[in-house]
């Protein structure tokens, strides 16, 4: 098992808590109609974003998905600017023009969330091509869900990346459902690592509810990609606690299944391990949680108080 330092354990726990509380807060804001529109929440899947991104260098790149808040936070995203963006505010990370589906921060190496399933595959693979051409040692992690596996561009990009030995790690977050349709009703091949064989690249499946398991596998495969071996596929089996979006009554899955995964909750389970292993005390865990709560409250207040974009912004940023 991956053994983090005390500081690293605290950081992993903190980031996962930030994501969870951020998402719980957005659910609350949606219910109160303070947040308009929709939002795809990452709660339950925190161990994946945190486990993978904490194993990257800060100047490595990621592409994200329609369920992208977790990736943005884990990629050193500013909570205030992210929350403001989700509310469409001027102070948002994309000046209020992107929203939940388009969180991006190029300075931090986040090449963006995407409103189109599999929309990040081309960007990630092209970024990897640029890195290879410029002989950079940076890599790209391309996050996508199980739904994206069945989209054409996924096949095109994986073939191209393997053909050209591009430095991209394809990271499949398998949360079992593409909106409402389960992988068992959508995928002819249920064992996703078999997909990689079609592109002659290695693959591994890992428990995406266990941050240390994710981190161990991610560290290994990031090194593999960074060493110029070409792409690989890492599948993280995980579960989203909320529905697909705000209006989803979740009729396609059972309460028993939800309970099963609730018991695998990556945050309390990791906190327990931290205490058992002596990485953190119970008191420290509580302190981290309280400090995260404070940061989320501050971000929320910042976002709510921030102004909407100026009307003149309608036509800016379209062309250079």
């Amino acid at each position: 098992m991956y053994e983090p330092s005390k500081e690293e354990a605290a950081r992993l726990l903190r980031q996962m808590m930030e994501i969870r509380q951020f998402e719980d807060k957005i659910m609350e804001l949606l219910a109160k109609n303070i947040a308009e529109g929709g939002s795809h929440l990452y709660a339950g899947m925190e161990a994946v974003a945190v486990g993978v991104i904490s194993s990257l260098n800060p100047d490595d790149y990621i592409t994200s998905t329609h369920r992208g808040h977790g990736h943005a936070i884990a990629k050193d995203g500013d909570l205030n600017a992210l929350m403001a963006e989700i509310l469409g505010k001027k102070t948002g990370v994309c000046k209020g023009k992107g929203g939940s589906l388009h969180l991006a921060d190029l300075n931090k190496g986040n090449l963006g969330a995407n409103g189109i399933v599999a929309g990040g595959l081309g960007i990630a693979t092209g970024a990897a091509l640029a890195l290879k051409m410029s002989k950079s040692s940076k890599i790209v992690v391309c996050f996508f869900g199980d739904g994206a596996l069945n989209n054409g561009i996924t096949h095109e990009c994986m073939n191209m990346a393997s053909l050209w030995k591009l430095p991209v790690l394809y990271l499949c977050e398998n949360n079992l459902y593409a909106m409402s349709v389960s992988i068992f009703r959508a995928c002819s091949v249920k064992d996703f690592k078999k997909r990689a064989a079609a592109y002659d690249m290695p693959a591994e499946v890992v428990d995406g509810m266990d941050v240390l398991a994710v981190k161990e596998a991610a560290t290994k495969w990031i090194e593999y990609v960074r060493n110029g071996n070409g792409p690989c596929l890492l599948v993280c089996n995980t579960y989203r606690y909320y529905g697909h979006s705000r209006s989803d009554p979740r009729v396609y899955r059972t309460k028993e299944e939800e309970k099963f995964y609730k018991e695998k909750d990556p945050i309390p389970n990791f906190a327990k391990i931290c205490i058992q292993k002596g990485w953190l005390t119970e008191h420290e865990v509580k302190q981290i949680e309280a400090s995260v709560t404070k940061a989320i409250e501050e971000a929320t207040e910042y976002a709510i108080k921030s102004p909407l974009p100026d009307p003149e912004e309608l036509y800016t940023d379209l062309y250079v």
Partner: protein, 324 residues
């Protein structure tokens, strides 16, 4: 001045820009060893190597998508979609990713990507290799759409497209590759978004672009003998349209015919015509006429193919009607 073909002019533009800026690279189907389906990239592989002149699998979505990714990291990719008919295969990448990413991210990135493609009828290739789909592209804010008709413009506009920090779709015409025209030696750029009056006249304005410019100029020649003085405006860029040149010409002639090869309904001409109405309705002495492609898939039979697009004769006839 020396005369070279449209194909050579494009090849020179690519060659010069690749020599000038090492961030420029080419990617597409059959562009390297084969030299491009229409020979535009011939010789560049030997000169620049396979890192910068890249044959790709038949993966249009990935070609455009990876072009975008590389552009975001500071490269200036010139990707080729062999026929514009294949653009449906990468339309999501073009419309949802390439065109929107800068705006969606609050202006925090640039996309210096050029997408070269080619369209139009004339080789009796049937419905999947003969279309004119520029109107689809004009409907996408965030990109530019360039359609040169002459070798001199092809070269100058391609160089400008590659240097532009915005995504540009550069649409060539398959029947123009072998046409010849004067092209100056040495460096020059042709500005995107500027139309050019290719023939001055007083009685009526033709607004046109790409291959239809050649037909329009021939029609103007014939009409001259009938005593009708035709001004021919080559729009060159369809997005953004050069409203000023359109307005000035129409204010002078007071009559407009639009000649376009794409299918008429909701075609490029609809936008161009509405622009005329918005800009200078009061100056019109006659209704605007569109001489456009037939609203049908392009048929194979050579006689039907000719009937499906404007001809010199149909342009002459159309103008005579407006002048009545």
């Amino acid at each position: 001045m020396r005369e070279i073909t449209y194909r050579q002019a494009l090849n020179e533009a690519l060659d010069e820009e690749m020599a000038r800026d090492e961030k420029v690279f080419l990617m597409g189907e059959d562009i390297a060893i084969y030299g491009g389906a229409y020979g535009v990239t011939a010789g560049l592989l030997n000169k620049y190597g396979e890192d910068r002149v890249r044959d790709t699998p038949i993966s249009e979505a990935a070609i455009v998508g990876t072009g975008l990714g590389a552009a975001l990291l500071g490269y200036r990719p010139v990707v080729e979609i062999m026929y514009i008919d294949f653009i449906g295969l990468c339309m999501d990448q073009l419309n949802n990713q390439v065109a929107k990413i800068r705006y969606m991210f609050g202006g925090k990135c640039t996309v210096p990507l050029t997408i070269r493609t080619e369209g139009g009828a004339g080789r009796t290739l049937g419905a999947h290799h003969s279309q004119s789909l520029e109107a689809w592209l004009m409907h996408i804010p965030g990109i530019k759409v360039v359609m040169p008709a002459t070798p001199v413009d092809a070269k100058g506009l391609l160089k400008s497209s590659i240097r532009d920090n915005n995504p540009v779709v550069f649409i060539e015409h398959k029947m123009l590759y072998n046409t010849k025209g004067p092209v100056p030696d040495g460096e020059y750029l042709t500005p995107i978004g500027k139309a050019e009056i290719k023939r001055h006249g007083n009685d009526i304005t033709i607004l046109t672009y790409s291959r239809m410019l050649l037909f329009s100029l021939q029609a103007a020649e014939i009409l001259e003998k009938e005593g009708i003085s035709v001004e021919v405006v080559d729009l060159r860029t369809l997005l953004p349209l050069d409203r000023e040149t359109i307005r000035k010409s129409v204010m002078k002639t007071n009559r407009v015919v639009i000649v376009e090869e794409d299918t008429k309904t909701a075609g490029a001409g609809a936008e161009i015509g509405m622009t005329v109405i918005e800009e200078c309705f009061d100056y019109l002495d006659a209704p605007i006429k569109r001489i456009a492609g037939a609203d049908v898939p392009m048929p194979k039979a050579p006689n039907l193919e000719k009937l499906a697009i404007p001809s010199v004769e149909s342009i002459v006839e159309g103008i005579m009607e407006v002048m009545k």
